[in-house]
């Protein structure tokens, strides 16, 4: 039996008059890594931003359709977007530690502002999050340093730790390694395999080798339409759509 965690039904999204997604249907299983691939401007980022209701924060953006998280529509009028986002974390393309905040505070802020005040609990959760993000050993002696004092790869892992700290069960990643060097990219990819045990990951990537290495399933988009949603091994060996085959082989 497969366990469906997120079910996207007839999702369409717009920026003012421009349609970015049309009629997307996807089921995402628990504890899997799903890679979203496709050419630039095909709606990959818009798609994952619809999963944690960040799409609606853009001026003039709106959408139609349903996103069911454990069977409940996150776009139901009774749902608080802030509470949804505590369950579905996000890591962005550019590392974005909060300015003027220490490494510790960067990870702690989500917990603090959601009501966790006790220092011992915070300390414990922060160590745990930084360990999960593979950053603990490098920063444990300088938790008071500015988050911006870290290297780009470390900053991105700090952002992953920040997202993990509030214990979401889904993590969305929007091209998390496109601003990183190959060594840091390797780190993040290794991390993904470990994270899979705790959380479900949806990752947007431009790099097809990366998609092949890290993901269990591939969702391939062109012009806002889902062309193919398939197991990664099948997608790269026997794609169902001729468009997928063209894209993989570079005849796009």
């Amino acid at each position: 039996m497969k366990k469906t965690l997120i079910e996207v039904k007839n999702l369409s999204a717009w920026f003012k008059k421009n349609q970015a997604l049309s009629e997307v249907n996807v089921e995402i299983e628990k504890n899997k890594v799903v890679a979203i691939i496709g050419p630039s401007g095909c709606g990959k980022s818009t798609f994952i931003r619809c999963l944690n209701r960040l799409h609606e924060e853009v001026e003039g953006a709106f959408l139609k359709g349903e996103v069911l998280l454990e069977g409940k529509n996150i776009y139901d009028s009774s749902e608080d977007p802030a509470l949804i986002r505590r369950k579905i974390g996000m890591v962005f393309q550019k590392p974005n530690p909060f300015p003027g905040m220490s490494i510790y505070d960067n990870v702690a802020i989500g917990l603090r502002l959601n009501g966790m005040k006790k220092r011992s609990l915070l300390d414990e959760r922060i160590e745990q999050s930084l360990r999960s993000a593979g950053l603990w050993k490098e920063v444990k002696d300088r938790l008071n340093y500015s988050g911006l004092s870290l290297s780009g790869g470390q900053q991105q892992r700090l952002c992953i730790a920040r997202a993990l700290a509030i214990q979401p069960f889904v993590i969305l990643m929007d091209e998390p390694t496109s601003a990183l060097d190959p060594v840091s990219t390797g780190w993040v990819e290794e991390l993904l395999q470990k994270l899979k045990k705790q959380v479900t990951v949806v990752i947007v990537t431009h790099n097809m080798q990366q998609a092949a290495r890290v993901s269990d399933r591939i969702a391939f988009f062109i012009d806002g339409k889902l062309i193919e949603y398939n197991k990664t091994s099948r997608f790269f060996t026997k794609p169902e759509s001729p468009k997928s085959e063209d894209y993989i082989t570079g005849r796009f």
């Binding site: 974005n96 220490s102 505070d105 959601n114």
Partner: protein, 284 residues
């Protein structure tokens, strides 16, 4: 073509422009050093304990001070900051967070305009609708300074907050933090140093304003007992004594100018030192 020759020409050109930039920057700073030098030279001799504790002298007295003006300035500028800074911060936040909002667009227009309104016009305005009803008072003075302070701080706040990239705000939202908390607990603290620089600039500006206080706080030869009375202020005392023609009063004016400059410097360094302590506690 003789390439090394052209390289020498470019190198010379480059060096001359750099020299020009250096010279112009230096010349721009010269008046500032002269002002500080003269104010110290003329004012330092006047300062003693009684200058800070006593009322202004009459033309034939050889003692006295500007204590009432210092207290009055502190009260009026302090009240204007207390009310104006939070107000202006909220306004700046609104202008930067809702840039497309219709009300924000008209408010931005008003703010841009009021920055360029001469301070004497603000003085006359407050005079005609507040002072004519309630009389001269420290409140009226604070209100006039408030009208100068708010657009300056609001504008600097808006510009500073606009520099913070949008994805930082989204990172906060993505942690399940409500929007207002993202702004007030993440974005504002992260830009505190820059925001306070804007506040210091506005504070220095209003501490030295004379024209709007002439019509509003008026002045007082004694200590004022409440904020509802005409109140002495340093800039107005400097203005009046410097054109009095009596040498002892003119000296008082130089002393007052030195105190005013030092006050602004002290506030500036004080806030920077406070921020330095804050940062070294939070960040090493």
């Amino acid at each position: 073509m003789n390439r090394p020759f052209f390289y020498q020409v470019r190198k010379f050109y480059n060096k001359s422009i750099l020299l020009l930039i250096f010279l112009l920057s230096f010349i721009a700073c010269v008046p500032f050093f002269f002002i500080v030098f003269f104010v110290f030279q003329k004012g330092l001799g006047v300062l003693n304990l009684s200058f800070f504790t006593q009322l202004p002298p009459t033309p034939d007295e050889n003692y006295g001070g500007l204590a009432n003006g210092m207290v009055g300035s502190l009260k009026i500028v302090g009240l204007a900051c207390l009310l104006g800074v939070p107000w202006a911060l909220f306004l700046g936040v609104f202008l930067s967070e809702k840039p497309q909002h219709k009300i924000a667009q008209s408010l931005r227009f008003v703010v841009d305009l009021s920055i360029s309104v001469p301070s004497i016009v603000i003085g006359i305005f407050v005079y005609s609708f507040l002072v004519s009803l309630f009389g001269f008072s420290a409140y009226a003075g604070s209100f006039a300074l408030l009208m100068i302070l708010i657009p300056i701080v609001a504008k600097s706040t808006e510009e500073i907050l606009k520099m913070i990239p949008h994805h930082i705000r989204e990172a906060g939202l993505a942690l399940g933090i409500p929007k207002w908390k993202v702004i007030f607990r993440i974005i504002l603290p992260g830009t505190l140093t820059m925001l306070l620089s804007g506040v210091i600039l506005a504070l220095a500006r209003i501490a030295g304003e004379t024209a709007p206080l002439l019509f509003t706080a008026l002045g007082n030869h004694f200590f004022s007992k409440s904020l509802g009375e005409p109140t002495a202020t340093l800039p107005v005392q400097i203005y009046e004594f410097s054109k009095s023609g009596f040498p002892n009063l003119e000296n008082m004016a130089w002393g007052g100018a030195l105190v005013l400059i030092s006050f602004v410097f002290l506030i500036n360094f004080g806030i920077r030192f406070f921020l330095f302590l804050l940062r070294s506690r939070n960040l090493s």
